[in-house]
């Protein structure tokens, strides 16, 4: 069974997914960060594939991408790191790759899916891959390698469109908490009606909320209505402060739960 599916069949509440950028802060920290998050009890991990032009990201994730690329991060190396990690520990939470379409296309979409699947990846988030192109050109390939495609929705996504995505997906829906780039401090009160609306739609897939989740309050708020939340910028900021990665992950997890 796909690991994401397996997670959601077991757990439906307060799911915490953490995003970090591969090859950051140091080139070979990728595996360390995953292990530290795993040990801390993170339910799911999103591994950011650094890109030169991350359009949907705010300054913190942009900076982490720039440093990761300077460190020498690339797709081939990432897959190697994941393979090495897999041979060390087989009890990892579901792993998802998140990034932009261009580096994936240059790598070769099918080859990318094959390698990702081969080193234990369960899903893919590519915010700039449009719906129509996904269905037409890429859906079949992803299914072949048992990879789940995760759709983003925003408060401006129409109900009709959300239902269409819900029908097409088979993992979870990534609800962007407000129309913004990552890492923006956004108004929590305004999100209430959005969360309620999504809850009341009774979608077939679980819904995780991302963008703007950074502490206990902003984690618990979406969890009240939906299945969990995704944190990225706030975790990277903790990594920025330096120190023992295992300890950072532990404290971070505790600060949210």
């Amino acid at each position: 069974m796909n690991r994401i599916k397996e997670l959601f069949s077991r757990k439906k509440e307060k799911i915490l997914s953490v995003y970090f950028t591969a090859g950051y802060p140091n080139l070979h920290d990728t595996g360390l960060v995953i292990q530290a998050l795993t040990k801390a009890g993170t339910d799911m991990i999103e591994i950011g594939m650094p890109y030169s032009d991350p359009l949907a990201d705010g300054p913190v994730i942009q900076h982490s991408s720039t440093i990761a690329l300077k460190n020498g991060m690339n797709m081939r190396l990432l897959f190697q790191q994941l393979k090495d990690l897999k041979s060390l520990s087989d009890d990892l939470p579901p792993l998802i790759l998140m990034g932009y379409l261009n580096p994936v296309l240059q790598f070769g979409f099918e080859k990318f899916c094959r390698d990702a699947s081969g080193c234990g990846i369960s899903g893919l988030i590519l915010p700039d891959l449009p719906f129509r192109e996904y269905e037409k050109d890429y859906k079949g390939i992803m299914e072949k390698y048992n990879l789940k495609f995760i759709f983003l929705i925003t408060p401006d996504t129409s109900e009709e469109r959300i239902r269409k995505m819900d029908n097409l997906s088979d993992a979870f829906i990534y609800a962007v908490s407000s129309s913004s780039v990552t890492g923006r401090v956004t108004d929590e009160d305004r999100k209430e009606s959005y969360f309620k609306r999504l809850r009341d739609m009774k979608l077939k897939n679980p819904v995780l909320v991302g963008f703007g989740v950074r502490d206990k309050r902003t984690f618990e708020h979406p969890c009240k209505y939906l299945n969990g939340a995704i944190v990225g910028t706030a975790f990277i900021q903790k990594l920025d402060q330096g120190g023992n990665i295992e300890k950072i992950a532990q404290e971070f997890e505790q600060s949210l739960r």
Binding site: L55, A56, P130, L152
Partner: protein, 393 residues
């Protein structure tokens, strides 16, 4: 139309709308409405009136006698440099500000390289009393300082883009991020035939007035229906798209696009996208993109801020792929040389961008042809660069 856009925004394999969901509502609204609005009678009337009374159209098609003698062809300059604000960019800015108004948007953002599009946007925002914010690479703010001052005098706020090579690509990234953060009230007034569908088609339509005028002017000047050759420089490709638009389906008209090769094609310091790029995604569309083997977009270089861009509009990628247009390139030195030559043969100081188009005249192996060069802008903004070069020429 062989070279037109299809219903999904593709020119052959290039184009589309590769945008995150945060921009979907905005782009979808534009996709569904832009043609209806452009074809609306009232819209057309206001657009044409502003082009005429405000921007100063039609611009002349000028027979450049001394340049023609030198290159032994009949060379006609399409004088976009005589437009209000000094470049073709105003045509598109007027069209899009009317579009923004029809869509009820109150806040306008734009990216700019040479600052010509920024000035054009600041101008139409002043005209319409709309808030205006222009993103500009830090490096470009230095080398095109007069345009920064103009934008500020027009009431726009100029925000430096400090990432990457601090040029047009980075300014565009910042503008797109701003758009994501302010999707409800903000209209993104893109300055070239780039970006997600429908921008490339919309901008090409607003610029198509250039070739519409050339078509009737060339007939008056030569008695022939069509020119033999049309030459334009290409950054994102809006002045080229405008100059070619009504000739695209007339295959007997040869089209030449001139890219900036900076210090030379093999120097690593260049912006010649079709020569060095591969198929990729940049700023919301699939096109040719200068990038590493890993798919990281590379930082281009050109002396001309308006051509210093690692991509090219999807229409142009299609024209390249199909062979409909021929692509040539000019180095910094060749462009500067061509600028001085035009200044001293014809008394016209061209923009550095336009100088790239002029720089291929000596590489053509034709004689006695009717050649139109799109003189996309004037060189006032580039005097600093020209003066520095004058000392070393």
């Amino acid at each position: 139309m062989k070279y037109g856009v299809d219903e999904f925004g593709y020119y052959g394999e290039f184009g589309g709308a590769y945008i995150p969901e945060m921009l979907f509502a905005n782009v979808d609204q534009l996709q569904k409405n832009y043609l209806g609005i452009i074809e609306d009678k009232e819209f057309r009337k206001e657009f044409l009136q502003l082009l005429t009374d405000y921007a100063g159209r039609p611009t002349p098609l000028y027979f450049a006698r001394r340049l023609s003698e030198k290159y032994r062809n009949n060379i006609f300059l399409k004088r976009e440099d005589l437009c209000h604000t000094g470049a073709h960019k105003i045509n598109n800015a007027i069209g899009q500000i009317l579009m923004a108004e029809r869509l009820g948007k109150k806040r306008i953002i734009a990216e700019t390289g040479a600052g010509q599009h920024g000035v054009a946007t600041a101008t139409v925002c002043a005209l319409k009393g709309l808030e205006c914010l222009v993103y500009m690479g830090e490096k470009d703010m230095e080398r095109q300082a007069p345009n920064v001052a103009r934008m500020q005098m027009l009431g726009a706020k100029v925000v430096p883009a400090t990432s990457g090579s601090k040029t047009l690509k980075d300014a565009t990234n910042e503008a797109i991020r701003d758009w994501i953060n302010n999707a409800h009230d903000t209209y993104y007034l893109i300055g070239s035939v780039v970006g997600p569908h429908p921008y490339p088609d919309m901008v090409a339509r607003f610029q198509s007035v250039i070739s519409e005028e050339i078509k009737s002017q060339i007939k008056n000047l030569t008695g022939k229906d069509l020119p033999d050759l049309v030459i334009a420089c290409v950054g994102g490709g809006s002045n080229a798209a405008g100059a070619f638009y009504h000739f695209l389906e007339d295959e007997e008209v040869k089209l030449i696009e001139v890219e900036a090769s900076g210090l030379g094609l093999d120097s690593g310091e260049t912006a010649a996208t079709t020569q060095l790029g591969r198929v990729g995604i940049l700023h919301g569309s699939k096109s040719l993109v200068m990038q590493t083997d890993d798919g990281q977009v590379t930082e281009p270089y050109s002396i001309s801020a308006g051509l210093d861009y690692p991509g090219i509009g999807p229409l142009h990628a299609h024209l390249y792929k199909t062979g409909r247009a021929k692509f040539m390139s000019a180095t910094d030195d060749e462009a500067v040389h061509a600028a001085f030559e035009l200044a001293q043969l014809e008394g016209i100081i061209p923009a550095l961008e336009s100088a790239h188009a002029l720089a291929v005249l000596n590489k053509l192996d034709v004689r006695d042809k009717n050649i139109v060069v799109n003189l996309s802008g004037r060189g006032d903004k580039d005097m600093d660069t020209y003066m520095k070069r004058m000392k070393t020429l």
